[in-house]
Symmetry: C2
Subunit: 596 residues, 2 copies
């Protein structure tokens, strides 16, 4: 299985998701919106006023994809869309189809909701991807013209302003990395420090916390507000901190990371406990049913953790990277690659209807606010970038997957069935036979017992520091028993429940695995019974465990506390969370009540 599970996700992205996104951009009017600026195009603007960002995210995905392999259709899309952007861009560099057409008078007038800088950020990220893939000098020039305008307008001595939706910060640092042009970094740093001083005003319905303008990030001690906004901001904060060597800013990011991951993260790695404002809640407020858990927030968390890992080498960041990838992110896309969740709850009741709040019980092919699908596409198209890192000292493998990794120290050929199996075999072909360097293979935080070439190893990475010769093989074995986990006692919403995990995967119960007359709402888990690992139709590994079914018919809503009525034993099958809702829409739960 070339590339393993991660590779299969990339292939699905290649084969289905990317072309689906291209088609949707036409059908939903995103490209026509841009054509309206200079070309003959249909009458009305369509979609959200920040619909350009969907084009840019898709461009970014296409650019990453073209960095991996040639593709005529994708090249044509990149060329045609770049040409369209070139025509559409104002002579001063401004580019935004909503404000350039019917709302010219509002240009730059209301940064709090305009998403102009947000859209600019995604344009820049697409250009950065194209530059790194070596396929898009023209796109980079478009992005730089806009970025130069931003520097002129918002740089030191210019307008004090920040965008209601962070994104521009990380984009500008990335553009600085690609171009070496310092003003981009300086502007990113300025945006970070201007935030939290009330420039956006008090959002009337949600409060200034909604867009993280309630307090400067250096003073904040709690992640708050709209989850995607908060997490995009923090990715940019780390970027700025690293590139400017600003230790206190990195300290702030670390402190906020602890707030997020110690008190406000779902078991799937997802974020956002409230639908009302798509926001973080109070610490430990993590309802599985009302999890907003937006796909974009999971992607943002992935980006933030990747940056924290690079900045610090910290092991917990790799754990969170893996957790959110295999669960919060992976569950967003259907097996066919063309349907997506916007919200990713950990519990769906029988009969739930959440279609009016972007929490349907089935993945949809697109959304009126379609931020998530092309966001997933751009991550999947670049997934290989997050597998390993290299330093002068050697190679560090963070995400175990089958495949080949080329590094300055040599090539690694990795065979593994991970995440279904914990055995990882690495064959090394050193660039310089006889050279000494360290191969570090991550031991995930969930793993309680690992061996390296049969010898027990502990720590965060299994390190092999040796002189490498062609044909050297290292075998890591991560024990991967099923695990039964509980929530922190303050996580009220999962009290009396447990969840099943194995390796990096969270499992769930689905109605599809139960008889029609046994609702998933009415089963409990016997945690004293052993969890058996078996093969399933939906996944190579499913978990089987004993449970109890109780029909609660006739039970009042509230009644005197008493011992549970006896129930009927039932065999339960748990499937990987990331695969749920691929057979039929139906009830699901990650957190399973415990049999008393």
């Amino acid at each position: 299985d070339e590339g393993g599970l991660l590779g299969s996700w990339q292939r699905r992205n290649t084969d289905a998701t990317l072309s689906h996104c291209l088609k949707q951009l036409e059908e939903s009017g995103n490209l026509d919106n841009l054509r309206r600026i200079t070309d003959s195009a249909p009458a009305a603007f369509r979609g959200m006023w920040f619909a350009d960002s969907d084009v840019y995210k898709t461009l970014e995905a296409v650019a990453w994809e073209l960095g991996r392999r040639p593709d005529t259709a994708l090249e044509q899309f990149l060329d045609a869309t770049t040409a369209l952007l070139e025509r559409a861009q104002d002579s001063d560099g401004y580019l935004n189809s909503y404000f350039q057409t019917d709302h010219r008078d509002q240009q730059w007038a209301e940064l709090v909701w305009s998403h102009e800088l947000y859209c600019a950020g995604h344009l820049i990220q697409a250009a950065v991807a194209a530059a790194r893939s070596g396929v898009g000098d023209r796109l980079l020039r478009v992005a730089r013209r806009f970025a130069d305008l931003l520097v002129d307008r918002f740089g030191e001595g210019g307008t004090d302003g920040v965008c209601g939706h962070p994104e521009i910060e990380t984009a500008l640092v990335e553009l600085y990395r690609v171009t070496g042009h310092r003003p981009y970094l300086d502007l990113a740093a300025r945006f970070v420090d201007l935030r939290g001083h009330g420039l956006l005003g008090d959002e009337p319905k949600f409060g200034a916390r909604y867009y993280q303008d309630h307090t400067p990030v250096r003073d904040a001690d709690e992640v708050a507000g709209h989850a995607v906004r908060q997490l995009y901001l923090l990715a940019g904060v780390v970027d700025v901190a690293v590139e400017t060597g600003d230790a206190s800013l990195l300290d702030a990011a670390t402190r906020l990371w602890e707030s997020a991951f110690d008190t406000k993260t779902y078991l799937t790695g997802a974020h956002g406990s409230r639908h009302r404002d798509e926001a973080f809640g109070d610490p430990y407020e993590l309802p599985p049913d009302r999890a907003y858990a937006e796909s974009c927030a999971a992607i943002a968390s992935f980006a933030w953790n990747w940056r924290m890992l690079l900045a610090t080498g910290g092991h917990r960041y790799a754990d969170e990277l893996e957790r959110v990838l295999y669960n919060g992110i992976a569950g967003s896309t259907s097996l066919d690659g063309t349907h997506f969740f916007y919200s990713n709850p950990l519990h769906l009741r029988t009969g739930h209807d959440g279609s009016h709040e972007d929490a349907p019980s089935q993945r949809l092919s697109w959304y009126s606010c379609a931020c998530c699908p092309p966001n997933l596409a751009r991550l999947m198209a670049s997934l290989q970038s997050y597998v390993a890192t290299t330093t002068e000292a050697g190679v560090q493998v963070h995400l175990h997957t089958a495949g080949r990794i080329a590094t300055p120290h040599g090539e690694l050929a990795i065979r593994t069935e991970y995440p279904w199996d914990g055995r990882v075999t690495v064959s090394v072909t050193p660039a310089t036979p006889g050279a000494a360097w360290t191969l570090a293979l991550r031991i995930p935080g969930w793993c309680e017992s690992a061996t390296l070439d049969g010898v027990p190893v502990t720590g965060e990475y299994a390190e092999v520091n040796r002189v490498w010769e062609p044909g050297d093989v290292v075998r890591l074995e991560l024990a991967m028993p099923a695990r039964v986990v509980a929530g922190h006692p303050r996580v009220d919403a999962v009290r009396g429940c447990a969840a099943l995990l194995r390796g990096p995967l969270v499992y769930c119960l689905e109605q599809a695995d139960l008889p029609d007359d046994v609702l998933v709402d009415d089963v409990t888990l016997d945690a004293r019974a052993a969890v058996d690992v078996g093969a399933g139709d939906l996944a190579p590994v499913v978990l089987r465990v004993a449970g109890t079914h109780r029909d609660p018919a006739g039970t009042p809503l509230y009644e005197p506390l008493a011992a549970s009525a006896p129930g009927t034993p039932i065999a339960l099958t748990a499937v990987p969370y990331f695969l749920w809702a691929n057979r039929s829409p139906g009830a699901m739960r990650v957190w399973i009540p415990l049999t008393a």
Copy 2:
């Protein structure tokens, strides 16, 4: 204690809340908005576009109050405001300060959000209260002129339209009851039947369920959408069903009542599980922390249950009437009578900040959308109306409270400390000595053991059918031990918890009763220990029970399921929920985790 606890609430309303509302209507601009129509008044419209309804609710409260006792200040307010309305009203009867001033072109243009009929309904209810109190012929004429316009415009053969916010339905039936004018009833019936056919369109963000336009009420089998809208509608549905003798409509109301009270009602009687759309959630979705539980929804539930009780005599309706009054409603007002909750959660974590979503940790003196305070005032001013009913067969006492009840059959003098004590002594002075009739005293659903004059009684009402002579005394004794209750197994959010109740009162733990270093977030209840009843500073009866404190510092967010770490025994004091947040803002919980 004349009037008991209910009487004390009425006195607080008299002494503090009513004058507070009058003051706020001036300060917040509600009266100025009306003055802008014809008088010289400040420049701009202030507040919500339906701010007139706050004036009408206050007028209704004042009218009920004047029916109880004379009050010069309140009479002046009634007269002056009525005169203002007379001047402001259009010649055709239209009256709405938002649409008569700056938005005349939008009059009747957008019923979905305009609240024009909603405001008209509250005007009518104020007029009905004035008529019933014998204080407001002029106000009744104003209301009738508007109602006649509505009949012309929306009656049979007129415009097919319904209001986005139900309220007009029950108001029109009440106006029919006061005037005997059948077209008012017919219009109410028409509004009920026009609803659910898509006249309002699909609300883009919340769906048509938000305003109960997704399905006709006769076909609905689940309460849904915005809780206040749903519950006001159902009060009107029962009114229409009763006055038109429409059994199938009453069946629909009964079916929806079961949906609400079997699956979607908080232990406090409150409704509304979601902040996002102030809405009911899925069945059994009842998170204590995220309870929206709007004060107005509790008042609406009270109104609906009262109508169901009158329509059917059903005992469960009286139970819910009592439950929501003593908990969901009573908790909304501060001890000083001038601060109010909009949202009434059953759980507030340490450090919670919900001020931006009308869920602050302290009651506020007013709100930008101030629907709740004057709504509470109008209920409290008319509370005596809901204590008992009379029929040819006798007198039925539904809410036990100290006081005197005058009926055609005679006068009842009731002595009791209810709800603190379950003994109720009724002295009867019959209107006609020697006449036979039945005195029925409610045995609440929560009561498991009752005696009448020392003899055990069961059933829904303790009935005394006898020939009454002056000085006859009946003694009802309701056993009132503390109760420990659990939620239905599908109420996921309270799994592993219990709540303490006594009589009709729900109790809660407050941080104010714990040492500073013991957070209410970290205590559990030992349900095997006895619950002791004691006297407290905050309330005549508090509950004391054994618990355990565990400091969770260092506990990861998720960890392998294991037995709880041992904790420290701690004595817990639970206080009546309706009194919470009167000492200091702080954490609170109704549902207490059980010691494992």
